[in-house]
């Protein structure tokens, strides 16, 4: 098992004090602690390893692996010609893709640094603007990312990448009209499958889930040769649409078909785990996620599943998660609010969950962001806080029996 020291919050205490200082364990929780927690003991302080052979850190890949060699080559090429934008973009792109594959945001920082000489100039070239937009949306700076894309589109309106990213970001902001307009710009520039997918995901969120499902599955059947990553993505979306339509068995089939493609993807794991949790099948969720502690999103689901299955490993995983949220808070990041809200709600802090979910909803308005806001507001009996999500539900026409039920219960609360 892994244990982590929380980052120094106020001062470096000796072993025993560092951990207990965390605000969650105050005196009122002492009794709770005695019976359930057994927390608050020594974290490992700085130490000197006993042996030279002790492995301290495992890198994501070996230097000899393809990724390592490729990165070295790209870096060397850029060092030879630091003014060469093409080379900088190639390196940045490689880093950015790695961030997605490995789930490690360090690479996004590397990508941003690689293009900085251009983005910090007065009038960045199109390639640098697009890359900068990617980096910014990754940090949830959606408006800034859209501004970069708009500047890039002025000069290169035929660039399919610009329009597909624009559509993707507007989807996160729940601007379906804007997203549809961006898809229309994608259509003449991309394949039929891609165009169909671009529109279908908007349909699925705007009251046309059945159409979306039919279109997506027809498009997929026509292109059995499609790339495995795209197939995975379509299977995930098909599963989600099926859930929306209340067709759980069909959803399950798509989740399994997606996983069977053998592409590592955290998104489908999270979606399938949520599905299993909703179905009351936590043990299956545990075995699905057991090696995914390193991802915060999946660690949360793992801990929730372990808790639902009453496994002894749950408290340690909740504590690990809390440490990670604290570490992020220390650096001022707010990328975790949806998950943090979920954790608070699970631990009975409905007020805290509402606060986090509401703040998160300002920034991100995907269905799952609305869902946690609805759930938290219901738990806290705070209908007003849920209003933005209720408005979205009504104006978008989003179909999902679970959402509808939550909305109804909130409305009843109002009476």
């Amino acid at each position: 098992m892994l244990y982590f020291e929380p980052p120094p919050q106020s001062l470096p205490g000796p072993a025993t004090y560092t951990s207990i200082r965390s605000a969650m364990y105050r005196l009122p929780t002492l009794i709770f602690l005695i019976f359930f927690g057994l927390n608050g003991t020594a974290w490992p302080a700085p130490f000197t390893p006993a042996s030279d052979d002790e492995v301290l850190e495992r890198l994501p890949f070996k230097a000899s692996a393809t990724e390592g060699q490729e990165l070295r080559q790209l870096r060397r090429a850029l060092t030879e010609q630091p003014q060469n934008l093409e080379r900088a973009l190639a390196l940045a792109r490689r880093y950015f893709d790695l961030a997605g594959a490995e789930g490690d945001p360090r690479y996004v920082g590397y990508a941003e640094a690689a293009i900085r000489p251009w983005t910090s100039a007065a009038d960045p070239p199109v390639g640098a603007l697009v890359m900068h937009a990617l980096v910014r949306q990754y940090r949830h700076e959606f408006d800034a990312a859209l501004a970069d894309l708009a500047r890039a589109a002025e000069r290169d309106p035929g660039n399919v990448e610009i329009w597909s990213w624009r559509s993707a970001i507007l989807m996160v902001q729940a601007d379906y009209t804007g997203a549809r307009a961006a898809c229309a710009r994608v259509a003449p520039l991309a394949s039929a499958l891609l165009t169909a997918a671009c529109t279908a995901i908007i349909d699925a969120r705007t009251g046309k889930a059945a159409n979306a499902y039919a279109d997506l599955s027809a498009a997929l059947t026509r292109r059995p040769d499609a790339d495995a990553a795209l197939k995975l993505w379509i299977q995930t979306r098909l599963a989600e649409a099926a859930v929306q339509l209340g067709r759980d068995q069909i959803a399950e089939r798509h989740f399994k078909a997606g996983l069977a493609l053998g592409v590592t993807d955290g998104y489908i794991l999270a979606a399938y785990a949520d599905f299993l949790l909703d179905q009351g099948r936590p043990l299956e969720a545990v075995s699905l996620l057991k090696n995914w502690e390193r991802s915060d999103v999946l660690l949360l689901r793992l801990a929730l599943a372990e808790d639902a299955a009453k496994l002894a490993s749950a408290p340690a995983h909740f504590a690990m998660l809390k440490d990670r949220f604290e570490a992020s808070a220390l650096r001022g990041d707010k990328l975790h609010q949806q998950d943090e809200a979920r954790l608070h709600l699970h631990q009975g802090d409905a007020r805290g969950a509402v606060r986090l979910a509401a703040e998160n909803y300002h920034l991100q308005r995907e269905p799952s962001d609305a869902l946690i806001l609805l759930e938290a507001a219901l738990a806290a009996k705070d209908v007003a806080a849920a209003q933005p999500a209720l408005d979205w539900l009504r104006s978008s026409g989003y179909e999902d029996p679970a959402y509808a039920k939550l909305a109804q219960r909130l409305q009843e609360l109002r009476k």
Partner: protein, 373 residues
């Protein structure tokens, strides 16, 4: 084509939440012209900067880190500037260790900055990793006369300036007292020890049975003796340790504290020491004092106001302790006749305390991680 496909996959929100970006943790403790520093730097970042994995097997071992310690220090310290009143303070390495943070292993670089004179203002310039990681942050924790300030260095904000100024004696005293309160408040081992001794104070042991005391005065007197002797004892060792007269290894002290909690609670289950629990409080109080001293040592004692800080801290500890006692005593007295108090609170509570403290003891004595998270 594939690239464009990937775009639409909306990996955005997932990927961003999967891990933590790069941070380093820089702690500086300013004491007159001397600045003591500890800098935790992720091995992942050092690998990217100077390459640590010498054999390229994807694992960074302690041997590989050790071989590059000089390079690590040279690389890092070249990217940190500390100036006191505009004059650069020379940086020198004082030690190398490692530590684990929530996202992996870190080099713990100990260093000192020698400034010409005690500075009135200090300026820190930070540029570690900014050249290749635009999202790296340096999280600074600055301690000065018991005050703590946290700040973040970013590529956009690579410099921070602090005016140190002299704190008034009163403010200094209050600041240490506050720390004292805080540390009794979160120091569960101390609280559990004290509670274990106090739980039977509202009861009398007669013929192998617990009977409620009849007068509040009896309970009060018992509590008074216990708290006073605990206080006197830990004040003695806290002072001796803080002034450097005696030093004991942390692990020994922490283990002994855990053992004291076990014994104190066990005494409620199988009474050995009856009315003379204040003796136990005194004897073990001596050990707890070393524990408080550990906290105080980490806080740092100002040389010019050593006694003031020590007394302030101690007063804070006592105040925190009194708050706990004054919440406990009336409640316990009120409940003393009930079955609930004797069975659930005294016996159940003591059993739970024994169990918790046993785990602490095992963990601390053998440097283990058992069930605690």
């Amino acid at each position: 084509m594939i690239r464009v496909l990937a775009l639409l996959m909306l990996l955005a929100s997932f990927a961003a939440e999967a891990h933590k970006p790069s941070d380093s943790y820089l702690r500086l403790r300013i004491d007159g012209a001397e600045v003591a520093g500890q800098w935790d730097i992720a091995l992942r970042d050092l690998e990217q900067a100077i390459g640590l994995d010498a054999n390229g097997d994807g694992d960074i071992t302690w041997g590989e880190v050790r071989a590059r310690q000089a390079d690590i220090a040279a690389y890092a310290l070249a990217r940190l500037k500390i100036e006191g009143d505009g004059k650069s303070c020379a940086l020198r390495v004082t030690g190398h260790q490692v530590d684990h943070h929530s996202d992996g292993a870190y080099e713990v670089l100990g260093f000192a900055a020698d400034c010409a004179a005690a500075p009135a203002a200090i300026e820190i310039g930070y540029s570690l990793f900014f050249d290749f990681d635009a999202q790296h942050k340096g999280l600074l924790n600055l301690q000065y006369q018991g005050r703590i300030q946290s700040l973040v260095f970013t590529p956009e904000q690579p410099k921070q300036r602090f005016v140190l100024g002299e704190m008034s004696a009163l403010r200094q005293f209050v600041s240490y007292a506050r720390e004292g309160v805080w540390h009794i408040w979160i120091g569960y081992d101390h609280i559990l020890f004290l509670l274990s001794l106090l739980l039977p104070a509202v009861l009398l042991r007669e013929h192998r049975h617990w009977l409620p005391v009849t007068r509040f005065g009896d309970a009060f007197w018992d509590v008074f003796k216990i708290v006073t002797s605990f206080t006197v004892a830990h004040s003695i060792t806290l002072s001796l340790a803080a002034l450097g007269v005696i030093t004991l290894p942390t692990r020994l002290v922490e283990s002994a504290i855990a053992a004291s909690v076990v014994l104190a609670a066990l005494n409620n289950l199988i009474p050995v020491v009856g009315g003379r629990r204040w003796v136990v409080a005194f004897a073990f109080g001596l050990i707890h004092g070393f524990g408080f001293a550990g906290v105080l040592a980490e806080l740092g004692l100002p040389r010019n106001a050593l006694v003031l800080a020590l007394v302030g801290f101690n007063v804070g500890v006592e105040a925190g302790q009194l708050a706990i006692v004054s919440a406990f005593l009336p409640l316990a007295y009120f409940l003393r006749r009930s079955w609930f108090y004797r069975r659930v609170v005294l016996l159940g509570g003591s059993t739970a305390i024994v169990l918790v403290a046993m785990v602490w003891l095992l963990e601390r004595a053998f440097n283990l991680k058992l069930i605690s998270a």
